[in-house]
C-alpha cells in the first residue's frame, strides 16, 4: 500500500483533482472557506443593492420583483450559504485538531457534505439565470411561496433540500468525531469551548434540519405535484409551514451563534492569557441554550393568532434564553478581568462583539415580549435585532476566526494593521447601518418594503443606514486585500504564533496531513498551556510512533452531489413537460449508482509507515 504523498510543486490540474477528491478535513475546511467566502460576497452585494434601493423614498433602482428576489436571496445566501459553511470551515479546520484526532470520523461523508452544500448553493442561485430567483422571503411563507410563479421558489426548495442534506451529514460527522475520536485524556470536561459549541450546534443540526427537510418536501409536493398541504382551497393549512420552518429556523440561529460563542471563548482566553473564567458554567450555558432553543420557535409567530396562552408561554420561554446567554457574557468579562489583555485584530473583533451582541440580545428580549412584538414584528426593528446578533455575533466571530486561525490553516499571519482597518470600517459601518433601523421600525417602516413613501419621516434614517452598509463593504474589501497581500508576501510562522492554549497549536502550521504523528496525552483543560507552563515545548505523546491509517481520496462525493443536482432540474421542469422526468432518472441513477459503488467497493484506506514517519522527523 502506498505511503506519503510527495508535496512538491504540483500542476494546477493535479491540485484541482486533489481538492475535488480530497477527504482531508483541513482541505475540506479550505473548500468551505472559499465557497462560504464567495457566497458572503454575493450576499453582501445583494445587501448593498437592497440598501441602495432604499437610499431615498420611492427610489427606482430595482423593480419590485427584483427587490423581492434580492432580499430572499440575500437572507437565504447569507444564512445557508455563507454563515453556516464558514462556521463549518472553522469546525473542520479546528475541531479535529483541538481534540487531538487524526481526522474526522467519516472523512468520506465530510467531503460528501461539502459537495452537497456547494451544489445546493449553486442550485439556489440558478434561478437568477433562468428568469427569476426565489422571491417569497427566506422564510418562504405559504401560500405566497406556493403560488409564486416561475421556478424561483422551486430552486429555493431543491437547493435547500440538497444543501440541507449536506449540513445534516456534516452535523452527524462532527457529533461522532467528538464522541469517538478524542485523544487519550481528552475528557468531555477538558474539551475546548469551541469544540463544545461545535458539539451542541451539531446536535441542534441533527434535530432541527429534519423539520426543514419535511417542510421542503411538503412545499415541493405542493408546488410540483399538486398536493394541498398549504392550500386552503384543498383544506390545507398554511400555518403548518410556519411551524415547520421555525421549528427548524429558531434552532438554526443558535446553530450559527453557538460556534461563534466558542470562537470568542478561545480568542478571549488566549489574548487575556487566562484560562476561561467559569469553564463549567460556560459548558452548562451552551447546553442549556441548545435545549431551550427548541422550545421557543413560536416567538416568530406571535401575530399569527395563536391566542394569548400560547403567546405568553412562548414569550416567557424565549426570555429564559437571556439567562444562559448572560452567563456567557459575564464569564467572558471576567475572563478579561485580571488578565493581560493584548489587543490585536482577532481580539478587537471579540471586544467589539460584546457590546454589539448584548444590544442585539436585549432587543431580542424586547421582541420576545409578545405584546410588544405586535409592534415590532415584521418591522425594521426586527431587521435591526437580527443583524445585531447575526452580524454582531456570527459575522464578527467569523472575521475574528479568520484572523486567529489563518496562521494555523495557511502558515502565514494576516497583517494586523490592515486587520484593524477592516475592523473599524466594518464596526462603524455596522452600527451606522443597523442602529437607526430600530427607530425606523417603530416609526412605522415594515420590513421587505421595496419602496417607502415620501413624507413619512423615514428618509434620513434610511439614508444613514445605506451609508453604513457601504462602509461595511469597504471593510470587507480591505480584508480581501489583506488576504491577497499576505498570501503573496506574508512570512511563514511557527506552530504557535499566539502563545495559545489548545492542542491545535501544538503541531506545525499548516499541520501535516495526518495531523498528529503521535496522539497527544491530554492532562487537563488547555493542554498545550499546561505543558508550556511546566517548561515543555510540546505535548507528551500518548503512544509510540507507529503506522498511521489514512482514508483514500474519492471522487464519488462529487459525483453523487452532481447526480442530485441534475435530478433537481428534472423535478422542477417536469411540471411543464414530463419529458424532463428523464433527468430525474438520470440524476438519481448517477447518485444512487455512486452510492452503490461506494458500498460495494471496499475502501480500506492506506497506511503511512512508521519508518517513513521517523525518516521525515529526521529531515
Amino acid at each position: 500500500m502506498s505511503t506519503m504523498v510527495a508535496n512538491n510543486k504540483r500542476s494546477f490540474g493535479s491540485t484541482l483533482w486533489d481538492y475535488l477528491t480530497t477527504v482531508d478535513h483541513k482541505k475540506i475546511a479550505i473548500l468551505y472557506l472559499v465557497a462560504g467566502g464567495f457566497f458572503f460576497i454575493i450576499g453582501g452585494l445583494e445587501a448593498l443593492a437592497i440598501r441602495w434601493q432604499l437610499v431615498k423614498p420611492m427610489n427606482d433602482f430595482v423593480s419590485a420583483g427584483l427587490y423581492n428576489e434580492l432580499i430572499t436571496m440575500h437572507g437565504t445566501t447569507m444564512i445557508f450559504l455563507a454563515a453556516m459553511p464558514l462556521i463549518f470551515a472553522f469546525m473542520n479546520a479546528v475541531v479535529p485538531l483541538q481534540i487531538g484526532a487524526r481526522d474526522v470520523a467519516f472523512p468520506f461523508l465530510n467531503s460528501l457534505g461539502f459537495w452537497l452544500f456547494l451544489f445546493g448553493g449553486i442550485m439556489l442561485n440558478v434561478g437568477w439565470i433562468t428568469g427569476g430567483a426565489a422571491d417569497a422571503g427566506w422564510t418562504a411563507y405559504a401560500p405566497l411561496s406556493t403560488t409564486s410563479p416561475g421556478e424561483g421558489v422551486d430552486y429555493y426548495v431543491l437547493g435547500l433540500q440538497i444543501s440541507g442534506a449536506g449540513t445534516l451529514i456534516g452535523g452527524i460527522n462532527f457529533l461522532v468525531t467528538i464522541v469517538n475520536m478524542r485523544a487519550p485524556g481528552m475528557t468531555y470536561m477538558r474539551m475546548p469551548l469551541f469544540t463544545w459549541t461545535a458539539f451542541v450546534a451539531s446536535a441542534l443540526i441533527l434535530f432541527a434540519f429534519p423539520a426543514l427537510t419535511v417542510g421542503l418536501f411538503l412545499m415541493m409536493f405542493d408546488r410540483l405535484f399538486g398536493s394541498g398541504f398549504f392550500d386552503p382551497n384543498m383544506g390545507g393549512n398554511s400555518v403548518i409551514w410556519q411551524h415547520l420552518f421555525w421549528i427548524f429556523g429558531h434552532p438554526e440561529v443558535y446553530i450559527l451563534a453557538l460556534p461563534a460563542f466558542g470562537i470568542f471563548s478561545e480568542i478571549i482566553s488566549t489574548f487575556s492569557r487566562k484560562r476561561l473564567f467559569g469553564y463549567s458554567a460556560m459548558v452548562f450555558a451552551t447546553v442549556l441554550i441548545g435545549f431551550l432553543g427548541f422550545m421557543v420557535w413560536a416567538h416568530h409567530m406571535f401575530t399569527v393568532g395563536m391566542g394569548p396562552a400560547a403567546n405568553s408561554i412562548f414569550a416567557v420561554a424565549t426570555m429564559a434564553i437571556a439567562i444562559p446567554t448572560g452567563i456567557k457574557i459575564f464569564n467572558w468579562l471576567f475572563t478579561l478581568w485580571g488578565g493581560n489583555i493584548q489587543i490585536n485584530t482577532p481580539m478587537l473583533w471579540s471586544l467589539g462583539f460584546i457590546p454589539t451582541f448584548t444590544l442585539g440580545g436585549m432587543t431580542g428580549v424586547m421582541v420576545a415580549a409578545a405584546s410588544a412584538d405586535y409592534q415590532f414584528h415584521d418591522s425594521y426593528f426586527v431587521v435591526a435585532h437580527f443583524h445585531y446578533v447575526i452580524v454582531g455575533g456570527v459575522v464578527f466571530a467569523l472575521f475574528a476566526a479568520t484572523h486567529y486561525w489563518w496562521p494555523k490553516m495557511f502558515g502565514k499571519i494576516l497583517n494586523d494593521t490592515l486587520g484593524k482597518v477592516t475592523f473599524w470600517l466594518f464596526f462603524i459601518g455596522f452600527h451606522l447601518t443597523f442602529f437607526i433601523q430600530h427607530f425606523l421600525g417603530l416609526m412605522g417602516m415594515p420590513r421587505r418594503y421595496w419602496v417607502f413613501l415620501e413624507d413619512q419621516g423615514l428618509d434620513l434614517g434610511n439614508a444613514i443606514s445605506t451609508t453604513g452598509a457601504f462602509l461595511m463593504g469597504l471593510g470587507t474589501i480591505v480584508l480581501l486585500y489583506n488576504i491577497v497581500v499576505t498570501s503573496v508576501k506574508g512570512e511563514k510562522v511557527g506552530s504557535d504564533p499566539w502563545d495559545a492554549r489548545t492542542l491545535e497549536w501544538a503541531i506545525p502550521s499548516p499541520p501535516p496531513f495526518y495531523n498528529f504523528k503521535q496522539l497527544p496525552l491530554v492532562r487537563g483543560l488547555d493542554p498545550l498551556w499546561i505543558e508550556k507552563t511546566e517548561g515543555r515545548k510540546g505535548m507528551t505523546p500518548a503512544e509510540p510512533i507507529s503506522d498511521i491509517h489514512m482514508p483514500n481520496n474519492s471522487f464519488l462525493p462529487f459525483v453523487m452531489s452532481l447526480g442530485f443536482f441534475i435530478a433537481g432540474f428534472g423535478f422542477i421542469y417536469q411540471k411543464y413537460d414530463l419529458v424532463w422526468l428523464s433527468l430525474v432518472f438520470i440524476g438519481m441513477g448517477i447518485a444512487l449508482g455512486a452510492m452503490l459503488m461506494r458500498s460495494v467497493k471496499d475502501d480500506l484506506g492506506y497506511h503511512i509507515h512508521k519508518e517513513d514517519l521517523v525518516k521525515e522527523a529526521k529531515e
Binding site: F207, I240, A298, A310
Partner: protein, 107 residues
C-alpha cells in the same frame, strides 16, 4: 485497530450461552408485541369508547416501541449511552413538533 485479543474458549462458550438466553427473551418480547397489536386492533374493531381506546392504543404502541428499542435494538446493553441520549433528544424535539402541529387542529 481491531481488538485482536481473541477470547478464551470457555469465555466464548459463556458468551454464546448468554446470547442464547437473550435470544429466548427476544422471542418472548416478540410474542408480547404481537399480543399488544392484537389487543389494539380488537379494541378498535369492538368499537369501544373512543376516549378510552385512543389513550390505550397509544400506550400499547409506546410499550411496543420500547421493546423494539431496548430488546431488538439492544439499547439496554451498555455502550448505548450516547445513542440513547441522542435518540431521546430526537424524541423530545419530536414531541414538541407533534404537539404544536396537532394543536393546530383545535386552535
Amino acid at each position: 485497530m481491531a481488538e485482536k485479543t481473541s477470547l478464551h474458549p470457555a469465555q466464548l462458550d459463556y458468551e454464546k450461552q448468554k446470547r442464547k438466553e437473550e435470544m429466548k427473551q427476544q422471542v418472548i418480547t416478540f410474542a408480547l408485541m404481537i399480543i399488544f397489536t392484537i389487543i389494539a386492533f380488537s379494541m378498535v374493531i369492538a368499537e369501544l369508547n373512543k376516549l378510552f381506546v385512543i389513550p390505550v392504543i397509544f400506550v400499547l404502541a409506546a410499550v411496543q416501541v420500547g421493546f423494539q428499542l431496548y430488546y431488538f435494538m439492544h439499547m439496554s446493553h451498555k455502550g448505548h449511552e450516547m445513542p440513547a441520549f441522542m435518540l431521546y433528544g430526537g424524541v423530545f424535539a419530536a414531541f414538541l413538533t407533534i404537539l404544536a402541529l396537532a394543536a393546530l387542529v383545535w386552535w
